[in-house]
Amino acid sequence: MTVEQERLIHTKEELLEMYHQMVLIRAFEEKAAEMYTKGKIGGFLHLYSGQEAVGVGFISVLREDDYVVGAYREHGQCIAKGTDPKYVMAELFGKATGVSKGKGGSMHMFNVKKGFLGGHGIVGGGMPLAAGVGLAIKYRKTDQVCVCFFGDGAVNEGAFHEALNVVALWSLPVIYVLENNMYAMGTAVYRASSIPDLIRRASCYDIEREQVDGMDVLAVREVAERAVRKAREDKEPRFVEAITYRFRGHSVADPATYRTKEEVEEWRKRDPILRMENYLKDNRMVTDDDIEATRAEVDARIQEAVDFAESSPFPAPDALYEDVYA
């Protein structure tokens, strides 16, 4: 089956849903940046703008009872896994109504009921945890899968190698998704990895691997369908490298002087949202008016999220000592 044929299988609703999710996440992130500069959000704020196709494409093929383990650029993934953006925004505001009751913050979003298991701020740290989730799936003999997102910086961590070894050794249904956005904070991949072709860093574990254009949500979805099906049916891990780009700095505080304007402009031309818009228009699934309407609807929803976060209470003092222990 060719790529084009496989794409035809998607219903119009599925395509529009992915488009909608990406627009929603972009609007959320851009609003979060604005709220950060207004002093409403503290700490670090790592935005997903530019990378939406990876999270949305992958999560779009998951079931609600499948698991996702993210890293610290995970707001969009938490939303894509079924979290109302208002609870994510409230978390960024440090409010009691946030997904993690205001105690996690940007890097520690959790929505366990929806299978979103964080939100982990140590580079590579989520990878062994995802292997453990895979182990639990195998232990219980269910047909769930666990998708673990991580960045290009993580391939140089020991956790990366230990986790890949055990999921392959024990045949665990974990899909590791490397979001290669070319820079580990400010260090370009070629300055950090002896092999800049990062998919090769996973090559010695005998896990089936694929590389995908992470700026193309349809391509991501196609690879995700294969990877998830394989993991689910054959109880095997998979490894996917998505080549992507973050349009903003590592965090909101980073002016990203290590990248040229030309480079950023080049990548912005490949904006996954514009690309999807063009695809939908070319296939006569949407009109310019529809796009306008979607953006207006999303903007209203994000404004509601901000209003909700703004009007929510901060955690009560008693919350300080709650949930240290069960």
């Binding site: 453990g132 989730v133 232990y139 070894n165």
Partner: protein, 328 residues
């Protein structure tokens, strides 16, 4: 009914009973299955429960801890064997940055029920990298509980409680105690509560406060002191976090004198914390400064006489007690 069994067998019984009781309990670690455990604590579990529940791992401490904790994130109850506490240093990111914080960071959504077992302690001439006592590293971290039994009955009862607890427990076994014997109840519901110290020997003149192997030295010292007419009380802390300050303070209020005996280093060690609690809560009752007997502040030497010199001894405890009671 009570049986006389070793500390090792007591731990093994606890694991078996809890694995029979709860199918969500499983054991994972280096050489826990086919080898039966580096210290033979998990011997026979593979035969009874199979390879799905007794899981041998590569030597990958971060993955061992991480897979256990990850499985606990979705509701299983792993008993993770780190072999020795020295190797747990390779898993500190998973234990400290993840396991201890996941419940709190998730606003209480996650419950991490995990026991991380490790042998610690010195005395077998294993040299500097295999003889450490690192309990204070873990006691420092909110979100962890730390347990260190000294006798077989506590080894069993505390391990069973730890497995049933809904938190992350660092369970420290002393490698020299594995062969030590004692009476252990056969009752499968025999549990020793976490967070409760025990007066192992009542006395009136001086409190010897300790845990793990040093507790056994305190018991011997107390016998010798009794022979010399000094009535020492021996307090077994048993759970290092949460610390049962009340039992310690009550003992000191009775005896007015406290000696803490610990096998870790003195600087920011367990004894420093216990001393601070005594000073904060019952300073006025003290008749003498609190004394601490601890490991010499050196990397553990290999040579036997030097190793013995580094460790607190029964003689040192006896002479400290004589000194603090003014009967030197």
């Amino acid at each position: 009914m009570a049986q006389t069994i070793s500390y090792r067998d007591a731990l093994n019984q606890a694991l078996r009973e809890e694995m029979r009781r709860d199918p969500d309990v499983f054991v994972i670690g280096e050489d826990v299955a086919e080898y039966g455990g580096a210290y033979k604590v998990t011997e026979g579990l593979l035969q009874e429960f199979g390879a799905e529940r007794v899981i041998d791992t590569p030597i990958s401490e971060e993955a061992i801890a991480g897979t256990g904790i990850g499985a606990a994130m979705v509701g299983l109850r792993p008993v993770v064997e780190m072999m020795t506490i020295n190797f747990a240093l390779l898993a500190m990111d998973q234990i400290v940055n993840h396991a201890a914080k996941l419940r709190y960071m998730s606003g209480g959504q996650l419950r991490i029920s995990a026991v991380i077992r490790a042998a610690e302690g010195a005395g077998l001439q294993l040299g500097a990298q295999h003889s450490q006592n690192l309990e204070s590293w873990f006691v420092h971290i909110p979100g962890l509980k730390v347990v260190a039994p000294a006798v077989p009955s506590d080894a069993k009862g505390l391990l069973k409680s730890a497995i049933r607890d809904n938190n992350v427990i660092i369970f420290l076994e002393h490698e020299i105690l594995y062969n030590s014997k004692g009476e252990v109840p056969e009752d499968e519901e025999y549990l020793v509560p976490l967070g409760v110290a025990e007066v192992k020997k009542p006395g009136t003149e001086v409190s010897l406060i300790s845990y793990s192997r040093m507790l056994t030295l305190c018991m011997r010292a107390a016998e010798q002191l009794a022979g010399a007419g000094i009535d020492a009380e021996v307090v077994d802390v048993r759970t290092l976090k949460p610390l049962d300050t009340a039992t310690i303070v009550n003992s000191v209020r009775k005896t007015h004198k406290a000696i803490i005996v610990e096998e870790d280093w003195k600087s920011v060690g367990m004894g420093a914390e216990i001393t601070a609690r005594i000073l904060e809560e019952t300073f006025d009752y003290l008749d003498a400064p609190v004394m601490r007997l601890a490991l010499a502040e050196v990397p553990m030497p290999y040579s036997k006489p030097l190793e013995q010199l580094a460790l607190p001894s029964v003689d040192e405890i006896v002479s400290a007690a004589r000194q603090i009671t003014g009967r030197g």
